[in-house]
Symmetry: C2
Subunit: 222 residues, 2 copies
């Protein structure tokens, strides 16, 4: 466990703690580390969740399968993101999403019940921890709204331009690298991959964007 302390201390939820403080809190929260392999599901739609999953390393897709069997990618999460937070904090403990490891991943698992109620020994940092969770889940919220903006555009072209523009803003640069491969991007934007590919080529031809592999350049203000 100790060998992961530096990773854990880098996460926004435990930021700035000393080793002995961290140790105390992890005990408090019944924290433990679990390794997942590429392709593993951390949990699925319908699972009852009672843990908070803090991603220390790896890459995880939050997905949903429709009634008709199509995949929707809600978002892609990396180290220092949390999953399960919002699920767990609500009255309804049943997951409405799948958490799929796209790479081998390292996850710190905490007992939500222990996290959310002040412990007897009322560790000094507990309230800061709760505030941090709050910030994290808020950011999650904003990202979901951004996704809704992206997929709510009318045409494939508008979806792409809106998505790329938002990525550009987040990267504070008009050149940036996409985290999705083409199929994932299509599943994220809810469009057909080949139609998307066609539209990307057209945008490139028209000089609005440029790209090579996953490196993109947005040449226009949206």
């Amino acid at each position: 466990m100790q060998k992961y302390y530096h990773k854990i201390k880098n996460s926004p939820i435990f930021y700035g703690l000393k080793d002995f403080e961290l140790e105390k809190m992890l005990k408090c929260f019944e924290g433990y580390i679990k390794k997942y392999q590429q392709g593993d599901m951390i949990f699925r739609q319908g699972d009852i969740i009672s843990k908070i999953y803090l991603i220390l390393d790896g890459e995880i897709n939050i997905e949903k399968e429709t009634y008709w069997g199509r995949r929707i990618i809600i978002q892609k999460l990396y180290g220092s993101n949390n999953i399960g937070l919002s699920l767990v904090a609500s009255k309804n403990f049943e997951s409405n999403i799948n958490a799929l490891c796209v790479e081998d991943s390292l996850v710190l698992i905490l007992n939500y019940e222990k996290c959310s109620t002040m412990c007897q020994n009322a560790c000094f940092h507990h309230s800061a921890f709760i505030r941090n969770m709050f910030n994290i889940i808020s950011r999650e919220n904003i990202e979901l709204i951004e996704k809704i903006e992206n997929i709510s555009q009318k045409t494939i072209r508008d979806k792409l331009l809106t998505y790329l523009s938002n990525e550009s803003l987040k990267n504070k640069s008009n050149s940036f690298e996409l985290k999705f491969n083409r199929q994932e991007l299509a599943d994220y934007l809810n469009i057909d991959r080949s139609a998307m590919s066609y539209e990307l080529s057209k945008l490139k031809q028209e000089g609005l964007i440029n790209y090579s592999k996953n490196k993109f350049l947005l040449k226009v203000e949206i």
Copy 2:
């Protein structure tokens, strides 16, 4: 202010407080009441937010305007929902949404900074308050994911069936009343109103659903 205490105490965020405790907290949080009229914007895209808005009464649409001028309805909020919470809790204080009053509304406004940091006099209920906010924003999060599920369906028919099925689940009944009018529903589901109207008629003809005005009956399991 006092005359609103019963409303405030009914909200999940202040639930179960005694009058004198509530009074102390509201002072702590610099809380005040503001009345809005139908059509008023509580805040707009681009506004810098530093308050928490707790809806005591009324009806508010969370909307976004696309670059191309189309309206997206993110969600509809009623009394005892919060707006501005997730906006305010992030480092980035710039709103990415509009909050539009669809009816005359009554809003309790709190200073976020005061809410999120423990006050000197450390009122007993402050940590419960933060936990409540946490629960609220989590539920918000889950609703956003549900919206994403609804609008991520491939066809208008699938969007409608998924939406109606989710409403049915939330109402724990296969008959329920929609909170949206037709144009709003179309803007929520990101589809053309007339095409949606056409598909609704078809679903009714085929016997999958029934409706009259906003009262709907879902006759199939999705």
